[in-house]
Amino acid sequence: MAFLKEYISEVYHAVSSLLKGMRTTGSYFVRPKEIITQQYPDNRADMKIPERFRGEVVMTHDENNEHACTGCTACELACPNATIKIVTKFDTTPEGKKKKALDTFVYHLELCTMCNLCVEACPTSAIKMAQTFEHSVYDRNQLLKKLNNPGSKLRAGVE
């Protein structure tokens, strides 16, 4: 008799534990507000990306097509993956002196791990992280980028 009682109580507890779980799942039918699925890529237009999100390194240019990069290679040294290569040239100042300046800022997006160490290292805040994240392309060469705009030059006053 004791065996039967134990058996019935075991079955009762088993069924009740299953029903308890079903109740939790079933209750979501009546509170659809808690469903958080985002319909990407349909929601691209109103998608919010936080301003600190690290998508890729970009160089900021102002309206005069001037940037703040002096070509000091601090970012190149800070990068753990050799993502950045700075090519410098010598400009001639009005006084006739030769001055080192940035020629090309080469950025390998395919090697970048978005660790932000280059942005931290930059003494003139010339580069920053952009919020773009859709980086897939058909050809690997398209991931090799030149960050300074063609014809751009150093902003006056930045040393």
């Binding site: 534990s17 779980g21 936080p50 600190r52 753990p80 791990t113 660790c115 932000n116 160490l117």
Partner: protein, 381 residues
């Protein structure tokens, strides 16, 4: 010239069948239940497991060797790629070791931020484990519930740290940037939501009779064995070993917050499950104590542009979601370490798998492996 003849068993001597009729099967390296590239060679007698031999190295990236050519600022980001579910805590351990070498005082604000981030990471990691564990045992709904709450943490991380998984937020001397203005409010909202959800988890899985029958008494690990295999974290605490680094060797502000070290004594899969689910509540408790008491001040100590550790050996340890994570740096006085060794919790926990599952049925293997909470890149490095 002697010609090579293919032996009758295909060349794999003693791999397919043993003399006593035992069957040798391979689980992995590409198997959905191993959650990564883990290769297990299992010797079966009927349905009973005789022996398990884990084969490692499929995702070995020689991170320790790589670190030898990186500076003390640069090497921290690599450790996010080891135990990617505890990325913050791994980075914290590395930052602590460098700070120990530099004898650098970390500002109180940075210490609190680090603990807050660490505990959020722990919740996210245990959430993912909870979903994956229930999925291994056949329940698919918990996986979605777990990921829903984890998504909220990922959004918080994205807003403050700039990335969702491999944040690289810890730097020697503090954290990379200050907290986002929305951080406190969003964490409070999350805690409020999450407290109800843990009860939901208990209803759904912890009390479920099928789940209990599949995990109770399965994969028993005694306290003595847990110590001799070097198990740490929830695996050892499920066997009754007090090994929480946050209690034993407190770092950051863990000695100033009140929380319980969860210890279960049964040593089976269900005990390990309970430890992790109860740790969720303890992590919430730590966050609740700190979120309103973040001290004002600097978030980063002033450091030189080029860090040089003095000649010597430095070791620091932290408690990740999986157990003890140790960083051992040998410095020759230069800008890069001479040698770095990482003590990862997953490797030691995996070594106990053979002992735990001998004599069990093969169906129980997933219940045992699930509660070990293996992250394969952490094992291989």
């Amino acid at each position: 010239m002697e010609t090579y003849k293919v032996p009758p068993n295909g060349g794999d001597e003693g791999l397919d069948t043993a003399d006593d009729g035992a069957l040798v099967i391979n689980v992995g390296p590409q198997h959905p239940a191993t959650h990564g590239v883990l290769h297990l060679v299992i010797t079966l007698q009927g349905e009973t497991i005789q022996k398990i031999e884990p084969h490692l190295g499929y995702i070995h990236r020689s991170i320790e060797k790589m670190c030898e050519s990186l500076s003390y600022r640069q090497f921290i980001y690599v450790t996010s790629r080891m135990d990617y579910l505890s990325a913050h805590i791994n980075n914290h351990g590395c930052a602590l070791c460098v700070e120990k070498g530099l004898q650098l005082e970390v500002p109180p604000r940075a210490q609190v931020i680090r603990v807050l981030m660490g505990e959020l990471t722990r919740i996210a990691s245990h959430e993912l484990w909870w979903g994956a564990m229930a999925m291994d045992l056949g329940a698919f709904t918990p996986f979605f519930y777990a990921f829903r709450e984890r998504e909220t943490i990922n959004d918080i991380m994205e807003e403050t740290c700039g990335a969702r998984l491999t944040m690289n937020y810890m730097v020697p001397g503090g954290v990379m940037y200050d907290l986002h203005p929305n951080f406190q409010q969003r964490v409070k909202d999350f805690i409020q939501l999450f407290n109800n959800k843990i009860d939901e988890y208990d209803d759904l899985v912890t009390g479920n009779i099928i789940f209990q029958n599949r995990t109770k008494g399965v994969g028993v690990l005694s306290a003595a064995d847990a110590i001799s295999y070097g198990c740490t974290g929830p695996v050892a605490r499920g066997s009754g070993v007090a090994c929480d680094i946050r209690k034993l060797y407190p770092y950051a502000v863990y000695d100033k917050v009140a929380f319980d070290e969860i210890i279960e004594t049964a040593g089976d899969s269900y005990a390990r499950y309970l430890v992790r689910v109860k740790e969720l509540r303890q992590s919430v408790r730590i966050i609740e104590q700190l979120i309103d008491n973040i001290p004002e001040g600097d978030f980063q100590a002033k450091t030189k542009a080029v860090l040089k550790l003095p000649k010597g050996e430095f070791y620091s340890r932290v408690e990740t979601a999986r157990g003890e994570f140790g960083v051992y740096i040998v410095s020759e006085g230069g800008t890069t370490p001479y040698r770095i060794k990482f003590r990862s919790p997953g490797f030691s926990n995996l070594s106990a798998l053979d002992h735990m599952s001998r004599g069990s049925k093969i169906g129980d293997l997933m219940a045992i492996m699930g509660t070990l909470d293996l992250v394969i890149p952490d094992i291989d490095r």
